[in-house]
């Protein structure tokens, strides 16, 4: 009983803050975890009574997200960002060093419960990696020296708040500015312009601008806003998708760091057009360090009457914005999975139709747009749709922010009008001997040197913003293998093809990596791609094979080097499988080995 009282003590205020609403379950669990570093089983008992939810529901949600733990983790939870760009900067060697210095195995908790070390999907610090998260707070620019220092701090149990502030520096690294990244934005200026235009007038300008969603898919923004406005519902919602989980992209982090007013103002404009009363910023858990800053921006907007009731004196224009945090699930960048997550559920993509514009958050009409889309809307309000449409290309109006990382002299943020060539970007970022560029992350497309004149635009290379550069020294097979591991880790597990298929694909790539590949495997990979494309529930499954197919087509030698047999080689290695028996019997003579592992062809 005393135990339960103790949990009630810290859970009470959290539950109050989230109005005891089951829809806030993910936020409640995230905060409840901060006391013990994991969600204590007795805390779940208390939440069951307070939220009137079954244990199955709470455990089902908690076990879905990578950053929520149902088992004790270390007092210091250290996660190494495992994007290919981190690996290229030596992240794996640093992790090995740290595990060695702290005497702990990757993925395990040290025996004294002090520390756990593991990997995590890309944390969005690719231009300043290798990066880690310590108790969900980002640390950039890891070096062997920094690893040793951190090991010392951990051993001495210095609280994270007393670690050297320089560790937590996150630079914007803005290398090229255009429309969105100029610093002349005065909070409120776009809203004033929108109010002058009126709701219909504002929507007409968005239409005229040709603005398309910046999350990668490029859906026409005006159609989304108009359909949502016309949909019937008790309440309309505006949701800003700041989940930014695609490995290699980090531009939303910069927009929210230095241009947050513009993003929130874009959301408010949307609310004005569609008649929404509530907005939500869904921010990936990796960016939790931005919380205080963003809350302060929201507070200052409330003080300036840019949020709240009767915004800028316009009667009936009531709108405010909450921040919701993700907890380590790439799939929540998919808009219907994001809505599920916002409702405190497992982030499983919904069956569609119906679409979010009519049945979104809590089944109400909802606009979900990317951070950059909202920022762009501010400029359209100020200068008009025709002016905006004049920038870029006919099918891709305006500008695009690229997150450039990998093998180049000046990684960081580059904003260009749509239509810029890959070659131009490579030149500007100081890339040389470039072998390949991964445009729009693992789910995007791998570009080889003969394609560098292709342009960034929806009609050629659509992108959410990631631009990872690989020079001639890189092994493109290993790049693809890293991406395939990412998809297998991030598949939500809902549908059979993606749940099993991404793991099978990972196993196929590991088979090649281990030297058991044959041309047969190419056929298998192509078959898997066809199945994932036609049968998967959502875009994750549809795109999971892209990096493999692209690299097979364009960098085939990287694969062929690994093919030992002409025909078929099984992943199973008979001699290796006897190793346990050899160890147990203490034998290592020739009789304990299969000298000529030859397996009959089992498949054609």
């Amino acid at each position: 009983m005393e135990e339960l009282d103790h949990h009630a003590e810290y859970l009470g205020p959290i539950l109050d803050r989230y109005s005891h609403q089951p829809a806030n379950l993910l936020q409640i669990l995230r905060e409840a975890q901060e006391v013990y570093g994991y969600i204590h089983p007795d805390a779940i008992d208390y939440l069951i009574t307070q939220l009137r939810l079954p244990r199955t529901k709470i455990e089902g949600v908690a076990s879905f997200y990578s950053f929520l733990y149902l088992e004790p983790r270390g007092q210091y939870r250290i996660l190494f960002s495992d994007n290919i760009t981190d690996r290229m900067l030596g992240s794996m060697e640093l992790m090995t060093q740290m595990c060695h210095e702290l005497w702990v195995e990757p993925g395990k908790v040290s025996e004294d419960g002090l520390v756990s070390i593991d990997t995590t999907s890309c944390t969005g610090m690719c231009d300043q990696g290798p990066a880690i998260l310590v108790n969900n707070i980002a640390i950039t620019r890891m070096t062997p020296r920094r690893v040793s220092e951190i090991c010392g701090l951990v051993r001495k149990q210095v609280p994270l708040s007393q670690w050297p502030p320089a560790y937590f520096d996150v630079a914007d690294n803005i290398q090229r500015k255009d429309l969105l990244l100029h610093d002349d934005f005065v909070p409120g200026i776009a809203l004033v312009a929108a109010l002058r235009r009126g709701q219909d007038g504002m929507l007409a300008e968005i239409k005229r601008s040709g603005l398309r969603g910046r999350g990668g898919a490029g859906f026409t923004t005006a159609i989304k806003w108009e359909s949502c406005r016309n949909a019937q519902g008790k309440m309309h919602y505006v949701v800003c998708n700041a989940d930014e989980g695609e490995p290699g992209t980090f531009k939303d982090r910069v927009l929210l760091t230095s241009y947050a007013h513009k993003v929130f103002e874009g959301m408010t404009l949307c609310a004005y057009v569609i008649g929404a009363g509530k907005g939500m910023l869904y921010l990936r858990g990796e960016y939790r360090y931005l919380r205080d800053h963003l809350e302060a921006v929201l507070q200052s907007r409330r003080q300036q009457n840019l949020l709240g009731n009767s915004i800028l004196g316009q009667g009936g224009f009531d709108f405010d914005i909450d921040i919701h945090f993700g907890a380590g699930a790439y799939i929540c960048g998919e808009e219907s999975a994001l809505l599920e997550s916002l409702e405190g559920k497992r982030g499983t993509p919904r069956n569609r139709p119906p679409f979010p514009v009519t049945h979104g958050y809590l089944n109400q009409p909802t606009v979900v747009n990317n951070v950059e889309t909202f920022a762009a809307a501010c400029h359209i309000a100020q200068r008009g749709g025709a002016w905006y449409a004049a920038m870029g290309t006919p099918q891709s109006a305006g500008t695009k922010i690229l997150s450039v990382s990998g093998d180049c002299a000046r990684p960081g943020i580059y904003e260009y009008p749509f239509g810029v060539s890959v070659r131009q970007v490579l030149q500007d970022c100081g890339a040389s001997n470039t072998q390949a560029v991964q445009v729009s992350g693992p789910s995007g497309i791998t570009i080889a040197a003969h394609e560098f004149d292709r342009i960034i635009a929806f009609e050629d290379l659509p992108t959410a913003g990631a631009f990872m550069v690989f020079d001639q020294s890189r092994d493109m097979f290993e790049v693809a293998r890293n991406f395939v591991h990412f998809f297998a880790h991030e598949s939500c597990g809902f549908c059979t093809p993606c749940r099993v298929g991404t793991s099978l694909l990972r196993n196929m790539m590991d088979k090649l990596h281990n030297g058991h590949g044959s041309p047969y495997d190419f056929q298998e990979i192509e078959n898997m791609n066809r199945l994932l494309l036609s049968m998967s529930h959502c875009g994750l499954g549809h795109t999971a094979c892209n990096p493999v197919l692209d690299t097979i087509a364009k960098f085939r030698p990287a694969y062929e080097r690994r093919l030992l047999q002409k025909d078929f080689t099984p992943a199973f290695d008979l001699d290796w499988s006897l190793e346990a028996a050899r160890q147990m019997t203490g034998r290592d003579d020739s009789g304990a080995h299969i000298l000529h592992p030859h397996h009959p062809k089992t498949e054609t």
């Binding site: 297998a488 597990g493 093809p497 749940r499 049968m535």
Partner: protein
């Protein structure tokens, strides 16, 4: 005149709000499926009922029928993909048909036969999955779970109990029960629950009941699964 669509060139009547699989079942046309059951809200996860509508593939259990739709289901291409999905379900879990009490009554096994699956094709994952024999009347063998969530829906929507749920993510997705101990015995699960009788495979099995019907005389020994168009006929308590 009721509205119609075509399914493999056969005219299928439907009522507003019906999904393609509901209309097909009403017309006694079989579309392969595992996670669909007419008694529960569709889930759309196994993807076996995927059909091609006007050139686009989608799950027949979640797509509402519309007048004039041209739906393809029994094509070589779709059945090959369904066969692959079935193989994936076999390698993902531990399915040893010869020693399984559900053999002959198992919808996964019967669907594999229906689709002409001759081998597992892929390397088996051989996952470590627990077996829970704590409950006095039922055994829970998670080795065979295909994550269709029928027991989840039955317990939640019919029994009002929430005994089961899916937990974890990706390939680590697994079934959990509503008890701090994680044991079925510590839940309010009972033999009278609908959830006790909807498992299409051999996960939720009654104790002290083995081989009462001999192999060779079981449900799918008599007729292929495509002859049992309405899945309700296959629920163990309604046979």
């Amino acid at each position: 005149m009721s509205k119609t669509f075509t399914l493999d060139n056969k005219v299928i009547p439907f009522e507003d709000g019906q999904t393609i699989i509901q209309a097909a079942q009403a017309a006694k046309v079989y579309i392969p499926h595992l996670c669909y059951h007419p008694g529960f809200k569709p889930h759309g996860s196994c993807k076996l009922c995927t059909v091609k509508i006007n050139g686009r593939q989608t799950a027949a259990c979640t797509m509402q029928a519309a007048a004039g739709m041209v739906v393809e289901s029994e094509t070589i291409e779709l059945n090959a993909e369904r066969r692959t999905l079935t193989q994936m379900l076999f390698v993902e879990g531990n399915h040893f048909c010869p020693s399984c009490e559900k053999s002959g009554d198992c919808q996964l096994q019967a669907t594999a036969y229906e689709l002409g699956m001759m081998s597992a094709h892929f390397d088996h994952f051989f996952p470590n999955r627990p077996l829970d024999a704590s409950h006095p009347d039922f055994i829970l063998d998670l080795n065979r779970c295909i994550l269709c969530s029928l027991c989840v829906r039955a317990s939640r929507d019919v029994d009002g109990k929430n005994v089961f749920a899916l937990a974890g993510r990706g390939i680590k997705t697994h079934l959990i029960v509503n008890a701090k101990s994680g044991k079925l015995a510590d839940t309010d699960f009972s033999a009278q629950d609908k959830a006790a009788h909807v498992c299409p495979v051999g996960v939720i099995l009654p104790k002290r009941k083995g081989f009462t019907v001999p192999i060779g005389e079981r449900t799918f020994d008599k007729l292929p699964i495509s002859e049992y168009v309405d899945t309700r006929l296959l629920d163990s308590d309604e046979k």
